[in-house]
Amino acid sequence: MLFRPNPQIVPEGHAAEINGARVLIEALEAQGVTTIFGYPGGAIMPLYDALPSSKLTHILTRHEQGAALAADAYGRVTGRAGVCLATSGPGATNLITGIGNAYTDSVPMVVITGQVPTHYMGTDAFQEADIFGMTMSIVKHSYIIRRPEDIPHIVAEAFQIAQSGRPGPVLIDLPKDMSVKKIARPVQTVLEKPVAATPPAAEIEKAAKLIEAAKKPLVYIGGGVNMAGAVPEMRRFVARTGIPAVATLKALGTLPTGDPQFIGMLGMHGLRASNMAVQECDLLICCGARFDDRVTGKLNTFAPHAKVIHMDIDPAEIGKLRAVDVSLPGNMKATLDALRPGTLDIAAWKERIDSLKIEHAWKYDAPGKGVYAPLLLKELSEQAGDKLIVTCDVGQHQMWVAQHCKFSRPEAHLTSGGFGTMGYGLPAGIGAKLAEPDACVVVVSGDGSIMMNIQELATLKRYNIGVKIILLDNSALGMVRQWQELFFDKNYSEVDLSDNPDFAAVARAFGIEAFTITRRDEVSAALKQLLAAKGPVLLHVKIDPKENVWPLVPPGKSNSDMMESDMIEEV
């Protein structure tokens, strides 16, 4: 199959010839790219040859997965596609987890992979991998460069696709012969981001009527609100209607944690008050969310009394898992501003929500003198304030961050939501700090997750990136251990990490300042020291290996069946 010729490319008559690699670098510059993350190797060498004379800042990670995850976080913070590159074969396959992470969480990303020359493709050549085929299920779109003349249009289109509609990763596979072949310097192209259509006014009016008729309406906020740039519109909508709201893991910060109408995170490890509100509501206004299983628990018991209004940029999400009463696909900014119901009769419902919030507020009175992670995280966000960006790994610490940190904007909380990628936190911290140098970027990791991408400590050191790391060490794969305790008859299988290395010593070996605490009374001073550090720093925190994340909706159960530490209670 042929790629369509691009009519916008008009080679300049006598312009100097440049090779495909330089064309691609210039195409990235034309898209406004300034920072890229990558790792060199054989098939991508022409691109690396063109890099030093470019305007791009290249961050050399120590593993391609680190490059992809850093680009993911860069994309989340800036709202523009993060860019990562790697060579063919193992370099390309090492990116795959990062691409999958970006796809599942709808993060804009452009991935560039080297490839063996076109005449070697399909011959099992050295370091050949069909990355185009392998990634098909985790990209929005992908290309193989077959003519260097196509590069400007393909790159422009890749950025447009990655950043428009429901964002996601786009892959460009660059065979080596295409990157060395010389052509007349082409004109670069930048494609405008299309504006999503607004749903018909009649449908918006129908939604307004449903809201007016509801006695117990609830807004269910997903990550799509921020992806649509609709945070101000959402805040205005909630403020003018007075409707209470819950948020998914990815949407924390869309409403500030302290907003009186915000209840908390819903779902498997959500605030009990949030899940009770969902179970009791008679109208669910779902905005940029997708009824994920970690949110809904047993799907047919989720929000059982509720009619549903669903707004999303992706029409395929509407009605996918839950039938809706009003569907509002398209432009969420415009939809939220246009959605103006009349007077609502929800005073009793708001009182009910307030009492639920008081009754089920987090408690921080855990006994003992050991460090209590939830309290440490609460204090972290209080000390760091609005400049804080937390990047998480995956596991118990991730849920504690979501439950106990305070966020004033969605970008303040970067977490691997849909994919659950252990090893996300550290490279994401790098990407976030480079995207927003003034932010106070804190990686919160666990002793399992940190080892997945520990090599990126070298990246922190090399570029002196002022990322702060809090390593909550319970000497175990804590979340798996918790599930084995609760759902596998305490048959603990391969979760013991009590032979962990001395993490502070490991960090120091990379040239990074590090210190360890073990007691609760050390926490405040340690956080002050951490936040005051100028360069990269690691705080190693020993915590109780038996601590669990509560509450918890058991897998396959209804959100009404939340477990607490004293085991099953009915909501």
Partner: protein, 119 residues
């Protein structure tokens, strides 16, 4: 389970057919047959006869998933009259197994015609 026929118009970009079939497979549908005549221009048309692997997988959801593909121009849900397979995907032992386990004995029911165009 009910069989469905989707008519998919898509641009002949590299990997387009693989991408299309990948979505069908991942979203829980078995390809019973596929026809795709040679096209003189850069627009291909494939007729796919599909069967959900679970009763609750809905063809309308799959249709919207396919419409999201960059190279897809239009997806139409047509009355299910199974076209003759020209690619022979289901011939041989694997195909026989699929036919045996997936295709019900009764005739396929008709679905309401539903057409949409990718904007």
């Amino acid at each position: 389970m009910m069989k469905h026929i989707l008519k998919v118009d898509f641009e002949a970009e590299e990997g387009a057919l693989l991408r299309l079939l990948g979505v069908v497979q991942r979203r829980g549908f078995a390809v019973i047959s596929i026809t795709m005549p040679e096209s003189a221009d850069l627009l291909n048309t494939a007729h796919l006869t599909l069967m959900p692997l679970q009763v609750y997988y809905r063809i309308e959801v799959l249709q919207r998933q396919i419409e999201k593909l960059h190279e897809v121009r239009a997806v139409t849900l047509v009355t299910p009259k199974p076209p003759r397979s020209v690619l022979g995907f289901l011939k041989g032992p694997i195909g026989s197994l699929h036919r045996k386990t997936l295709i019900p004995k009764e005739s396929p029911q008709c679905s309401p015609e539903n057409s949409s165009r990718v904007s």
